[in-house]
Amino acid sequence: MLFDRACVGGGWNAGNSVVYGAPLAPHVEPTAIALMALQDELPNEIIRDSLAWLKHRAENLTAISSLAWSILSLFLYGVPVGELKRRLADRTGDGSQVRENAVLAVATLALRCGEMIHPFALIR
């Protein structure tokens, strides 16, 4: 189903990929999470396109939750995330300005990505 719901050109959003013939844009978080769910699949065109889209999209992200999910996902595919982590650390600060616990939690996981067991990595 994930492959069926992929957006045209890669990535995923919250719902339909095409409405009345017009393709809808992918979103960061659904794409990052879908890619993590597909980490054990053989790479195919949809995965490659989605990964390329997320990598490109993450370059200019500053929103904490999207940045954190991108780091967790890209790391699993071997994409360097050092610069993204630095940006996330800068945006998050000491966490006191992050109003939502779920966002703070995923930011904390992403900031430790590579230093400990990845919470969403398959253990083979």
């Binding site: 959003n13 919250a14 719902g15 409405v19 009345y20 017009a22 809808l24 844009a25 979103h27 960061v28 978080e29 659904p30 992200l61 500053t62 929103a63 904490i64 939750s65 999207s66 109003r99 939502e100 966002v103």
Partner: protein, 327 residues
């Protein structure tokens, strides 16, 4: 889980979309929010860079809103950022409105929204320019997708949903100001002040893109929401509007208008007339005129510019050609 016939019919209608073979089932209403006469102002503004406060403030004073000492919630339409598409209410208009309500004596003003597509609200605020605009004006933002929730019985029974979990911020505000972007909509025909209230429905409870309500019938859900959380005032952004396959994939359409109103039905009816379409063909506006506000021109007092006699109609999807009948 069982599905009642009513739920099935509503869901089927939502799937069918805008076909004109289907009408809203009538339900007993326990409220009537209509005024004897409503007031609507159409203001001309050619862009967002001018002094919008200077344009808005004198007209807001004419409405004599009871703002002093009140908490004001501004509810813009924020969906997601789509480059080149006028999807969202412009941050400059919302910022100007916030300043005006503070000058009019509001105790506090918050901007609140629960974006319907994009889960990361901070991302929407970043990319639409809201973060910058609100920070500059020291205006708070509340993410209605993740606010504290209160279970509320709906005041009408159009959708059959019975109750809604609603954000406390929306329920406790003294004045709810709906600030829609004037757009066509591929499921509802148009999205204006009433449809804009879908944004108070919390994603954390109902998911994204809030399909539970679509399955219960989009027009029915709009009516139940607007009956349960009344809109006190409307400030609609039609400076740059959207036609065609809205609310995301349509084309920009310059309307150069801001519509203010003390009645959501009158506001939406006027916006639809400005779009060159027929408000009575929009089912939630037509049904809303029975208890939420006024649709007839003779019960709407115009402040400022009248609706132009001749308007090039907004392009609509084929399912909504019935909107292009007599205004």
């Amino acid at each position: 889980m069982t599905t009642s016939r009513r739920q099935f019919v509503a869901a089927s209608a939502a799937v069918v979309g805008g076909t004109s073979t289907w009408t809203i089932a009538r339900h007993p209403r326990i409220i009537d929010l209509r005024r004897p006469q409503s007031r609507v102002a159409i203001l001309t503004a050619v862009d967002y860079s001018g002094n919008l406060e200077a344009l808005l403030l004198p007209v807001l004073k004419e409405f004599r809103l009871d703002v002093r000492g009140k908490s004001v919630l501004l509810k813009p339409n924020l969906v997601e950022h789509v480059p080149g598409k006028p999807v969202n209410t412009h941050p400059k208009l919302v910022g100007a409105a916030a300043s005006c309500f503070l000058w009019l004596g509001a105790k506090n003003v918050v901007v609140a929204e629960g974006p319907g597509h994009e889960r990361d609200t901070e991302l929407v605020l970043n990319e639409t320019g809201f973060e910058h605009e609100l920070r500059d004006r020291a205006i708070s933002f509340v993410d209605l997708n993740r606010d504290e929730l209160v279970k509320v019985k709906t005041k009408t029974g159009y959708s059959g949903i019975g109750h809604l979990w609603l954000p406390k911020t929306a329920l406790t505000a003294d004045l709810v100001i709906s600030m829609p972007k004037i757009k066509t909509h591929h499921w509802a025909g148009v999205t204006l002040s009433m449809k804009n209230m879908f944004g108070i429905i919390p994603g954390i409870k109902y998911g994204w893109p809030k399909n539970v309500l679509h399955w219960h019938g989009i027009h029915e859900s709009i009516l139940d929401i607007c009956a349960t959380v009344p809109i006190h005032f409307v400030m609609a952004d039609g400076i740059e509007a959207m036609e065609g396959n809205g609310p995301l994939q349509g084309e920009p359409r310059r309307l150069n208008r801001i519509v203010l109103a003390d009645d959501p039905v009158a506001a939406d009816a006027t916006c639809v007339r400005l779009m060159g379409l027929n408000p009575r063909a929009v089912r939630h506006i037509e049904e809303g005129s029975r208890f939420l506000g006024n649709i007839e021109s003779n019960r709407i007092v115009m402040i400022g510019d009248p609706v132009p006699k001749s308007v090039e109609p907004f392009r609509v999807l084929p399912d909504f050609r019935n909107l292009m009948a007599t205004r």
